[in-house]
Symmetry: C2
Subunit: 199 residues, 2 copies
Amino acid sequence: MAKNDCRTKLMEIGTRLFAERGLHGVSIRELSQEAGASISMISYYFGGKEGLYSAVLQEQFACFDQIEEIRKQGAEPLDVIEGYIRWTLQRHRNNPYLLRFYTSELTNPTLWFHTIVQPAIEKIIRILIDVLDDGIRRQQFRKELHTGNAALALAGMANYFFLSTLATENLVSHSAENDEELIRQYAAIFTQGILASPP
Amino acid sequence: MAKNDCRTKLMEIGTRLFAERGLHGVSIRELSQEAGASISMISYYFGGKEGLYSAVLQEQFACFDQIEEIRKQGAEPLDVIEGYIRWTLQRHRNNPYLLRFYTSELTNPTLWFHTIVQPAIEKIIRILIDVLDDGIRRQQFRKELHTGNAALALAGMANYFFLSTLATENLVSHSAENDEELIRQYAAIFTQGILASPP
DNA sequence: GTCTATATTGCGATAGAC
DNA sequence: GTCTATCGCAATATAGAC
Protein backbone atom coordinates (compact mmCIF):
# COMPACT_ATOMS: atom_id res chain seq x y z
CA MET A 1 0.00 0.00 0.00
CA ALA A 2 1.30 3.46 -0.87
CA LYS A 3 2.67 5.63 1.88
CA ASN A 4 0.01 7.34 3.99
CA ASP A 5 -2.64 5.59 1.98
CA CYS A 6 -2.77 3.21 4.89
CA ARG A 7 -3.21 6.02 7.39
CA THR A 8 -5.99 7.57 5.33
CA LYS A 9 -7.78 4.25 4.98
CA LEU A 10 -7.62 3.64 8.73
CA MET A 11 -9.11 7.07 9.38
CA GLU A 12 -11.88 6.42 6.87
CA ILE A 13 -12.87 3.02 8.25
CA GLY A 14 -12.37 4.22 11.82
CA THR A 15 -14.78 7.08 11.22
CA ARG A 16 -17.49 4.77 9.97
CA LEU A 17 -17.07 2.06 12.59
CA PHE A 18 -16.63 4.36 15.60
CA ALA A 19 -19.69 6.31 14.45
CA GLU A 20 -21.77 3.17 14.08
CA ARG A 21 -20.76 1.41 17.28
CA GLY A 22 -18.79 3.77 19.47
CA LEU A 23 -15.24 3.58 20.80
CA HIS A 24 -15.84 0.41 22.80
CA GLY A 25 -17.94 -1.34 20.18
CA VAL A 26 -15.12 -1.67 17.68
CA SER A 27 -12.01 -3.83 17.86
CA ILE A 28 -8.80 -2.85 16.13
CA ARG A 29 -8.75 -6.36 14.68
CA GLU A 30 -11.94 -5.78 12.73
CA LEU A 31 -11.02 -2.20 11.96
CA SER A 32 -7.65 -2.97 10.45
CA GLN A 33 -9.08 -5.92 8.55
CA GLU A 34 -11.77 -3.76 6.94
CA ALA A 35 -9.15 -1.20 6.08
CA GLY A 36 -7.06 -3.89 4.42
CA ALA A 37 -4.12 -3.11 6.68
CA SER A 38 -2.31 -4.90 9.44
CA ILE A 39 -3.39 -4.51 13.03
CA SER A 40 -0.04 -3.02 14.00
CA MET A 41 -0.55 -0.04 11.70
CA ILE A 42 -2.93 1.50 14.20
CA SER A 43 -0.27 1.66 16.86
CA TYR A 44 2.29 2.79 14.29
CA TYR A 45 0.25 5.77 13.07
CA PHE A 46 -1.95 6.64 16.01
CA GLY A 47 -0.36 5.07 19.05
CA GLY A 48 -3.32 2.76 19.64
CA LYS A 49 -7.06 2.58 19.30
CA GLU A 50 -7.77 5.61 21.43
CA GLY A 51 -5.30 7.65 19.40
CA LEU A 52 -7.16 6.78 16.24
CA TYR A 53 -10.46 7.69 17.88
CA SER A 54 -9.21 11.11 18.94
CA ALA A 55 -7.81 11.75 15.47
CA VAL A 56 -11.20 10.90 13.97
CA LEU A 57 -12.96 13.12 16.50
CA GLN A 58 -10.70 16.04 15.70
CA GLU A 59 -11.35 15.68 12.00
CA GLN A 60 -15.11 15.42 12.52
CA PHE A 61 -15.33 18.62 14.52
CA ALA A 62 -12.99 20.61 12.31
CA CYS A 63 -16.00 21.86 10.31
CA PHE A 64 -17.09 23.94 13.30
CA ASP A 65 -14.18 26.27 12.59
CA GLN A 66 -16.08 27.68 9.62
CA ILE A 67 -19.20 28.54 11.56
CA GLU A 68 -18.32 32.24 11.62
CA GLU A 69 -19.29 32.31 7.95
CA ILE A 70 -22.97 32.37 8.84
CA ARG A 71 -22.38 35.77 10.45
CA LYS A 72 -21.08 37.78 7.55
CA GLN A 73 -20.48 41.47 8.07
CA GLY A 74 -23.69 43.39 8.69
CA ALA A 75 -25.98 40.41 8.20
CA GLU A 76 -29.47 40.80 9.59
CA PRO A 77 -30.25 38.58 12.63
CA LEU A 78 -33.03 36.91 10.65
CA ASP A 79 -30.58 36.02 7.89
CA VAL A 80 -28.10 34.58 10.37
CA ILE A 81 -30.82 32.40 11.91
CA GLU A 82 -31.76 31.02 8.51
CA GLY A 83 -28.06 30.67 7.71
CA TYR A 84 -27.53 28.64 10.87
CA ILE A 85 -30.33 26.21 10.02
CA ARG A 86 -29.02 25.80 6.47
CA TRP A 87 -25.46 25.34 7.69
CA THR A 88 -26.56 22.70 10.21
CA LEU A 89 -28.57 20.76 7.66
CA GLN A 90 -25.75 20.82 5.12
CA ARG A 91 -23.26 19.78 7.77
CA HIS A 92 -25.30 16.66 8.53
CA ARG A 93 -25.99 15.95 4.86
CA ASN A 94 -22.31 16.20 3.97
CA ASN A 95 -21.26 14.06 6.90
CA PRO A 96 -23.85 11.64 8.22
CA TYR A 97 -21.41 10.43 10.88
CA LEU A 98 -20.95 13.74 12.66
CA LEU A 99 -24.18 13.53 14.65
CA ARG A 100 -23.18 10.15 16.04
CA PHE A 101 -19.99 11.53 17.53
CA TYR A 102 -21.78 14.69 18.59
CA THR A 103 -24.46 12.93 20.64
CA SER A 104 -22.26 10.08 21.76
CA GLU A 105 -19.78 12.53 23.25
CA LEU A 106 -22.54 14.62 24.83
CA THR A 107 -24.05 11.64 26.63
CA ASN A 108 -20.98 9.45 27.11
CA PRO A 109 -18.05 11.86 27.05
CA THR A 110 -14.58 10.48 26.44
CA LEU A 111 -11.27 12.05 27.46
CA TRP A 112 -11.42 14.39 24.47
CA PHE A 113 -14.83 15.87 25.08
CA HIS A 114 -13.48 18.94 26.84
CA THR A 115 -10.77 19.71 24.31
CA ILE A 116 -12.60 18.96 21.07
CA VAL A 117 -16.37 18.70 21.44
CA GLN A 118 -17.34 21.18 24.13
CA PRO A 119 -15.45 24.16 22.60
CA ALA A 120 -17.06 23.50 19.21
CA ILE A 121 -20.59 23.40 20.58
CA GLU A 122 -20.04 26.32 22.95
CA LYS A 123 -18.74 28.42 20.10
CA ILE A 124 -21.82 27.92 17.98
CA ILE A 125 -24.30 28.44 20.80
CA ARG A 126 -22.46 31.60 21.81
CA ILE A 127 -22.81 32.95 18.29
CA LEU A 128 -26.55 32.23 18.31
CA ILE A 129 -26.93 33.97 21.67
CA ASP A 130 -25.03 36.99 20.36
CA VAL A 131 -27.25 37.16 17.30
CA LEU A 132 -30.41 36.97 19.40
CA ASP A 133 -29.12 39.67 21.76
CA ASP A 134 -28.38 41.79 18.72
CA GLY A 135 -31.91 41.28 17.41
CA ILE A 136 -33.35 42.40 20.74
CA ARG A 137 -31.15 45.48 20.68
CA ARG A 138 -32.53 46.28 17.24
CA GLN A 139 -36.04 45.77 18.65
CA GLN A 140 -36.74 43.02 16.15
CA PHE A 141 -37.14 40.31 18.79
CA ARG A 142 -39.25 40.25 21.92
CA LYS A 143 -37.27 41.98 24.64
CA GLU A 144 -38.27 39.49 27.35
CA LEU A 145 -36.71 36.64 25.33
CA HIS A 146 -34.25 34.47 27.27
CA THR A 147 -31.61 34.27 24.57
CA GLY A 148 -29.73 31.30 26.06
CA ASN A 149 -32.80 29.09 26.13
CA ALA A 150 -33.88 30.34 22.72
CA ALA A 151 -30.48 29.54 21.20
CA LEU A 152 -30.73 25.98 22.50
CA ALA A 153 -34.27 25.74 21.11
CA LEU A 154 -33.07 26.67 17.64
CA ALA A 155 -30.12 24.28 17.79
CA GLY A 156 -32.44 21.58 19.09
CA MET A 157 -34.89 21.95 16.21
CA ALA A 158 -32.18 21.68 13.59
CA ASN A 159 -30.23 18.82 15.14
CA TYR A 160 -33.12 16.71 16.41
CA PHE A 161 -34.59 16.52 12.93
CA PHE A 162 -31.61 14.35 12.01
CA LEU A 163 -31.19 12.67 15.36
CA SER A 164 -34.72 11.28 15.25
CA THR A 165 -34.50 9.98 11.68
CA LEU A 166 -34.27 6.30 12.51
CA ALA A 167 -37.36 6.41 14.73
CA THR A 168 -39.55 8.74 12.68
CA GLU A 169 -38.89 7.92 9.05
CA ASN A 170 -42.30 6.23 8.85
CA LEU A 171 -43.98 9.47 9.92
CA VAL A 172 -41.92 12.27 8.40
CA SER A 173 -39.85 12.43 5.22
CA HIS A 174 -36.19 13.07 5.85
CA SER A 175 -35.23 13.34 2.21
CA ALA A 176 -32.65 15.95 1.27
CA GLU A 177 -34.95 17.14 -1.51
CA ASN A 178 -37.09 18.97 1.03
CA ASP A 179 -34.21 20.69 2.80
CA GLU A 180 -34.83 24.20 1.46
CA GLU A 181 -38.49 23.84 2.34
CA LEU A 182 -37.53 22.62 5.80
CA ILE A 183 -35.21 25.58 6.31
CA ARG A 184 -38.05 27.95 5.48
CA GLN A 185 -40.42 26.15 7.82
CA TYR A 186 -38.04 26.00 10.76
CA ALA A 187 -37.04 29.63 10.32
CA ALA A 188 -40.73 30.53 10.25
CA ILE A 189 -41.57 28.48 13.35
CA PHE A 190 -38.69 29.94 15.30
CA THR A 191 -39.41 33.52 14.33
CA GLN A 192 -43.21 33.61 13.88
CA GLY A 193 -44.39 30.54 15.73
CA ILE A 194 -47.19 28.29 14.59
CA LEU A 195 -50.19 30.44 15.47
CA ALA A 196 -52.51 31.59 12.68
CA SER A 197 -52.94 35.04 14.18
CA PRO A 198 -51.08 37.05 16.85
CA PRO A 199 -52.36 36.36 20.36
CA MET B 1 -28.60 -11.17 49.91
CA ALA B 2 -32.39 -11.44 50.07
CA LYS B 3 -34.25 -13.00 47.17
CA ASN B 4 -34.69 -10.69 44.17
CA ASP B 5 -32.72 -8.04 46.00
CA CYS B 6 -29.86 -9.23 43.87
CA ARG B 7 -31.86 -8.90 40.68
CA THR B 8 -32.96 -5.38 41.62
CA LYS B 9 -29.43 -4.33 42.45
CA LEU B 10 -28.15 -5.62 39.12
CA MET B 11 -30.82 -3.64 37.28
CA GLU B 12 -29.94 -0.52 39.24
CA ILE B 13 -26.20 -0.69 38.65
CA GLY B 14 -26.74 -1.86 35.08
CA THR B 15 -28.89 1.17 34.38
CA ARG B 16 -26.21 3.55 35.60
CA LEU B 17 -23.27 1.86 33.93
CA PHE B 18 -24.94 1.15 30.58
CA ALA B 19 -26.15 4.74 30.50
CA GLU B 20 -22.72 6.10 31.24
CA ARG B 21 -20.67 3.92 28.92
CA GLY B 22 -22.99 1.98 26.65
CA LEU B 23 -23.52 -1.73 26.20
CA HIS B 24 -19.97 -2.39 25.02
CA GLY B 25 -18.28 -0.10 27.52
CA VAL B 26 -19.25 -2.16 30.56
CA SER B 27 -18.05 -5.60 31.58
CA ILE B 28 -20.23 -7.95 33.59
CA ARG B 29 -17.27 -8.41 35.93
CA GLU B 30 -17.27 -4.76 36.95
CA LEU B 31 -21.05 -4.58 36.92
CA SER B 32 -21.56 -7.52 39.26
CA GLN B 33 -18.80 -6.31 41.54
CA GLU B 34 -20.39 -2.87 41.93
CA ALA B 35 -23.72 -4.55 42.60
CA GLY B 36 -22.10 -6.65 45.29
CA ALA B 37 -23.20 -9.83 43.56
CA SER B 38 -21.47 -12.66 41.82
CA ILE B 39 -20.81 -12.54 38.11
CA SER B 40 -22.93 -15.62 37.50
CA MET B 41 -26.05 -13.88 38.78
CA ILE B 42 -26.32 -11.96 35.51
CA SER B 43 -26.68 -15.15 33.53
CA TYR B 44 -28.98 -16.59 36.16
CA TYR B 45 -31.46 -13.70 36.13
CA PHE B 46 -31.08 -12.25 32.66
CA GLY B 47 -29.43 -14.91 30.54
CA GLY B 48 -26.32 -12.80 29.99
CA LYS B 49 -25.15 -9.23 29.59
CA GLU B 50 -27.35 -8.47 26.62
CA GLY B 51 -30.38 -9.80 28.48
CA LEU B 52 -29.68 -7.39 31.32
CA TYR B 53 -29.29 -4.54 28.86
CA SER B 54 -32.62 -5.26 27.20
CA ALA B 55 -34.34 -5.49 30.59
CA VAL B 56 -32.90 -2.10 31.51
CA LEU B 57 -33.98 -0.65 28.18
CA GLN B 58 -37.52 -1.93 28.61
CA GLU B 59 -37.76 -0.39 32.07
CA GLN B 60 -36.38 2.93 30.85
CA PHE B 61 -38.93 3.27 28.07
CA ALA B 62 -41.89 2.09 30.12
CA CYS B 63 -42.64 5.71 31.03
CA PHE B 64 -43.69 6.37 27.45
CA ASP B 65 -46.81 4.32 28.09
CA GLN B 66 -48.24 7.19 30.10
CA ILE B 67 -47.83 9.78 27.38
CA GLU B 68 -51.53 9.72 26.53
CA GLU B 69 -52.08 11.64 29.77
CA ILE B 70 -50.96 14.87 28.14
CA ARG B 71 -53.97 14.61 25.83
CA LYS B 72 -56.82 14.58 28.30
CA GLN B 73 -60.36 14.67 26.95
CA GLY B 74 -61.15 17.91 25.19
CA ALA B 75 -57.82 19.57 25.96
CA GLU B 76 -56.98 22.55 23.80
CA PRO B 77 -54.06 22.01 21.37
CA LEU B 78 -52.14 24.79 23.09
CA ASP B 79 -52.55 23.04 26.43
CA VAL B 80 -51.35 19.75 25.01
CA ILE B 81 -48.25 21.43 23.60
CA GLU B 82 -47.40 22.92 26.96
CA GLY B 83 -48.23 19.59 28.57
CA TYR B 84 -45.81 17.82 26.27
CA ILE B 85 -42.96 20.18 27.13
CA ARG B 86 -43.66 19.79 30.86
CA TRP B 87 -43.94 16.03 30.58
CA THR B 88 -40.62 15.83 28.69
CA LEU B 89 -38.79 18.01 31.19
CA GLN B 90 -40.12 16.04 34.15
CA ARG B 91 -39.26 12.78 32.45
CA HIS B 92 -35.63 13.82 32.14
CA ARG B 93 -35.52 15.31 35.64
CA ASN B 94 -36.92 12.14 37.18
CA ASN B 95 -34.61 9.92 35.22
CA PRO B 96 -31.34 11.47 34.08
CA TYR B 97 -30.31 8.22 32.40
CA LEU B 98 -33.18 8.01 29.95
CA LEU B 99 -31.71 10.47 27.46
CA ARG B 100 -28.49 8.43 27.27
CA PHE B 101 -30.37 5.34 26.16
CA TYR B 102 -32.63 7.42 23.94
CA THR B 103 -29.82 9.02 21.93
CA SER B 104 -27.51 6.04 22.11
CA GLU B 105 -30.19 3.83 20.55
CA LEU B 106 -31.07 6.44 17.93
CA THR B 107 -27.50 6.76 16.73
CA ASN B 108 -26.15 3.27 17.49
CA PRO B 109 -29.23 1.04 17.53
CA THR B 110 -28.99 -2.35 19.20
CA LEU B 111 -31.16 -5.40 18.51
CA TRP B 112 -33.94 -3.97 20.69
CA PHE B 113 -34.28 -0.61 18.97
CA HIS B 114 -37.17 -1.69 16.78
CA THR B 115 -39.14 -3.41 19.53
CA ILE B 116 -38.62 -0.96 22.40
CA VAL B 117 -37.27 2.41 21.33
CA GLN B 118 -38.79 3.12 17.94
CA PRO B 119 -42.40 2.39 18.97
CA ALA B 120 -42.06 4.67 21.99
CA ILE B 121 -40.72 7.60 19.99
CA GLU B 122 -43.12 7.06 17.10
CA LYS B 123 -46.06 7.04 19.49
CA ILE B 124 -45.20 10.39 20.97
CA ILE B 125 -44.43 12.06 17.65
CA ARG B 126 -47.68 10.73 16.24
CA ILE B 127 -49.59 12.30 19.11
CA LEU B 128 -47.90 15.65 18.49
CA ILE B 129 -48.74 15.47 14.80
CA ASP B 130 -52.37 14.67 15.63
CA VAL B 131 -52.57 17.63 17.97
CA LEU B 132 -51.09 19.99 15.41
CA ASP B 133 -53.50 18.71 12.73
CA ASP B 134 -56.31 19.28 15.19
CA GLY B 135 -55.14 22.85 15.81
CA ILE B 136 -55.13 23.54 12.08
CA ARG B 137 -58.65 22.14 11.76
CA ARG B 138 -59.73 24.52 14.52
CA GLN B 139 -58.02 27.34 12.57
CA GLN B 140 -55.76 28.07 15.52
CA PHE B 141 -52.54 27.19 13.68
CA ARG B 142 -51.28 28.32 10.31
CA LYS B 143 -52.88 26.09 7.69
CA GLU B 144 -49.69 25.78 5.60
CA LEU B 145 -47.85 24.27 8.58
CA HIS B 146 -46.08 20.97 7.86
CA THR B 147 -47.17 19.17 11.01
CA GLY B 148 -44.58 16.38 10.81
CA ASN B 149 -41.65 18.78 10.69
CA ALA B 150 -43.25 20.97 13.33
CA ALA B 151 -43.73 18.03 15.69
CA LEU B 152 -40.03 17.16 15.37
CA ALA B 153 -39.16 20.80 15.99
CA LEU B 154 -41.08 20.80 19.26
CA ALA B 155 -39.59 17.50 20.39
CA GLY B 156 -36.16 18.77 19.40
CA MET B 157 -36.45 21.91 21.50
CA ALA B 158 -37.46 20.01 24.61
CA ASN B 159 -34.97 17.16 24.32
CA TYR B 160 -31.96 19.10 23.09
CA PHE B 161 -32.11 21.37 26.11
CA PHE B 162 -31.06 18.35 28.18
CA LEU B 163 -28.89 16.72 25.56
CA SER B 164 -26.67 19.78 25.31
CA THR B 165 -26.24 20.26 29.04
CA LEU B 166 -22.67 19.05 29.32
CA ALA B 167 -21.48 21.38 26.55
CA THR B 168 -23.51 24.48 27.39
CA GLU B 169 -23.66 24.66 31.18
CA ASN B 170 -21.21 27.57 31.09
CA LEU B 171 -23.59 29.54 28.88
CA VAL B 172 -27.08 28.59 30.00
CA SER B 173 -28.45 27.53 33.37
CA HIS B 174 -29.90 24.04 33.35
CA SER B 175 -31.16 24.18 36.92
CA ALA B 176 -34.52 22.54 37.62
CA GLU B 177 -35.61 25.70 39.44
CA ASN B 178 -36.21 27.41 36.12
CA ASP B 179 -38.23 24.59 34.59
CA GLU B 180 -41.65 26.27 34.79
CA GLU B 181 -40.15 29.41 33.29
CA LEU B 182 -38.53 27.31 30.56
CA ILE B 183 -41.84 25.62 29.76
CA ARG B 184 -43.49 29.01 29.32
CA GLN B 185 -40.65 30.23 27.10
CA TYR B 186 -40.53 27.17 24.88
CA ALA B 187 -44.30 27.10 24.52
CA ALA B 188 -44.17 30.79 23.59
CA ILE B 189 -41.39 30.32 21.04
CA PHE B 190 -43.13 27.39 19.40
CA THR B 191 -46.51 29.09 19.21
CA GLN B 192 -45.66 32.78 18.83
CA GLY B 193 -42.05 32.77 17.67
CA ILE B 194 -39.42 35.25 18.74
CA LEU B 195 -40.46 38.29 16.71
CA ALA B 196 -41.50 41.43 18.54
CA SER B 197 -44.30 42.16 16.09
CA PRO B 198 -46.12 40.14 13.41
CA PRO B 199 -44.37 40.24 10.02
C1' DG C 1 6.35 1.30 6.17
C1' DT C 2 4.20 -3.03 6.57
C1' DC C 3 3.88 -7.59 7.86
C1' DT C 4 3.43 -12.05 10.97
C1' DA C 5 3.68 -14.03 15.31
C1' DT C 6 3.15 -13.77 19.98
C1' DA C 7 2.71 -12.01 24.83
C1' DT C 8 -0.55 -10.66 28.11
C1' DT C 9 -4.66 -9.34 29.78
C1' DG C 10 -9.54 -9.30 30.18
C1' DC C 11 -13.86 -10.84 28.36
C1' DG C 12 -18.62 -13.64 28.72
C1' DA C 13 -20.43 -17.86 30.06
C1' DT C 14 -21.06 -21.93 32.85
C1' DA C 15 -20.17 -26.27 35.71
C1' DG C 16 -20.55 -27.75 40.07
C1' DA C 17 -20.29 -27.09 45.20
C1' DC C 18 -23.14 -25.43 48.89
C1' DG D 1 -30.28 -18.61 45.02
C1' DT D 2 -25.52 -17.64 45.31
C1' DC D 3 -20.82 -18.63 45.15
C1' DT D 4 -15.94 -20.01 43.33
C1' DA D 5 -13.20 -21.81 39.81
C1' DT D 6 -12.31 -22.37 35.26
C1' DC D 7 -12.89 -22.76 30.14
C1' DG D 8 -12.34 -20.87 25.68
C1' DC D 9 -11.96 -16.93 23.21
C1' DA D 10 -11.03 -12.15 21.80
C1' DA D 11 -9.00 -7.98 23.16
C1' DT D 12 -4.74 -4.54 22.68
C1' DA D 13 -0.17 -3.99 22.07
C1' DT D 14 4.43 -5.00 20.44
C1' DA D 15 8.78 -7.50 19.02
C1' DG D 16 11.19 -8.63 15.20
C1' DA D 17 11.53 -10.06 10.21
C1' DC D 18 11.47 -8.02 5.68
